[in-house]
Symmetry: C3
């Protein structure tokens, strides 16, 4: 099953959100091979991970740490360093082909995870995007743009929607809150709770990233009662 | 099997043509989950459909009515309102995950369609694009642009090709008729019968949508003997 | 399994490199259906190919000849001209649906390749991109741009990397050689051995095709000791 070939090149953060959103729905016998790997061929490790009953094969770049947080489970992590289970020769630029996929294939043929390499106790974690609780609400940022151009922030969705107010995306204000896209007119910028539970900004039947010129990293300020000081004129 | 992730966002008409073009080739045990769903979370229904031996799970937005026309079969339609077969909680913005896929999974595990919800007698139909037979031929419109940029109209292909003449795309005239792309020089705009049986305009080894600045909704006039009055100078 | 829907329209050369890169990793019972087919509906043949234990169904346009070179195996080639194993009617514009996929389906159901049509002794071969060994190194060209924008040439990778020097892409010089992307700073143009064994030019964490304004057909000159005469000033 090809879950996605649409993760932007080298975008480990995008991969992390993607994995957190889909791996939990797979059965434990699934093997997830993740090849978002800007550090391929350097000394970054190649890992086998068993977390919350889910198995992953991926580079040690933090792509799975958000998934681990979502699952709230203790991971068992192994370093894939048994050359017996690699394609030979191992290239310096394509470990999806030479290390991760062969390891997955051997696992499906009955090789045990122990044989792939030793357990390790340290791995890279992706730092969470900054989120601050303020007197007015929250200061966070856009952490994901989905294929519709919807902007997903790191602000907790139900809490923000429960109090309403203004969502500032940089200097642009979004003031209409909805439960779902179809509740406002096409073209309207709206704030809502995303399907992953975060505060989302969308443009009904449109592309919010394009219309609002926002993207990953755009600051998001939620001000329940009034504009935050910085934007008062 | 991922049939397509390339339907443009919210484009129910594109989905309808896509389904009419591929579902008929699948065996009856296939379950088709369609998540082109601009009305997600509103009061639009979620449906299970059995039509001509094909089973679909989709929003009630007309995405399957062209398929039903092609199959010429009487559908059995059920409303998916048994919460037992949904993911919990059901979000307001992602019924692919929360309603359609879980219903399909339960069906594959032996749940009968009757258990998903009651049969209904009404559903949304997508209106057909306007098509008029004129003294000279037809007046229709482009209803689809494929991934090559080929322009598919709603004008009956074999009938139009049988008489030839001029195809007007807005103010642009296409006068060369071919049986297939390779019969004209690269770069030539040509008229032909599409693989779905409609009048198609293509640019050989090129992209007709871009070259002719046309797209879904562009008027198409077929004039067998002479330019239509509106274009006579 | 959908190996790719991302081969650019009508790009037989891209398909050829794609097939050479992935078919060798499949087991012999796999059937590969290739529908990169600018000549569909003309008198170009439809083929069944058995080469090195791999089976393909494809148009006779040379898309598989590089694969045959890589495998170094003698092919058995048949012409698919038994109408019994086609969808009816056979359209002039979509043989993926009407000839290749039905032939593959019949093969999986036990039809033997002999029944599909007679063996033939001639087929189209894709000419290799020109490669010249010079006093300084090589003169070749870019033969592929991957989805990251990396530029793959037809110059032998290990040999070129073994001697180093300057890689000229048109009038642009790349002088930094690395073993893998992560060995240079983001944004740096680098030369390295691609995972397929050719000389590759990449921009670390960037898109070399865009940054260096290069693409398929861009001349590549490798000059081990000094700039080639044409670029001396």
């Amino acid at each position: 099953v090809d879950l996605s070939h649409a993760v932007p090149p080298q975008d480990v953060r995008h991969a992390a959100l993607f994995l957190a959103g889909c791996v939990p729905y797979f059965p434990p016998e699934a093997l997830h091979v993740i090849v978002v790997d800007p550090g391929v061929g350097t000394d970054r490790a190649a890992l086998y991970i068993d977390v919350g009953g889910h198995q992953l094969l991926c580079p040690d770049n933090g792509c799975w740490s958000l998934l681990a947080d979502v699952l709230g489970a203790h991971p068992v992590v192994r370093r894939l360093d048994n050359p017996r289970y690699c394609r030979k020769p191992v290239s310096a630029t394509f470990h999806g082909r030479d290390i991760f996929a062969p390891a997955a294939a051997h696992l499906t043929l009955g090789v045990s995870p122990e044989e792939l390499g030793p357990e390790v106790g340290q791995w890279v974690r992706l730092p969470a995007a900054p989120l601050v609780t303020t007197a007015h609400g929250w200061e966070g940022e856009i952490i994901h743009v989905d294929s519709f151009g919807n902007l997903i922030s790191n602000v907790p969705g139900p809490e923000a929607a429960g109090r309403g107010g203004t969502v500032w995306l940089g200097s642009k204000a979004v003031r209409q809150w909805v439960r779902t896209y179809g509740e406002a007119e096409p073209g309207t910028p709206v704030a809502l709770v995303s399907s992953s539970g975060f505060l989302e900004v969308a443009v009904v039947n449109g592309n919010a990233a394009r219309t609002l010129a926002a993207g990953v990293g755009t600051p998001v300020i939620v001000a329940h009662s009034s504009p935050p000081p910085a934007y008062e004129v």
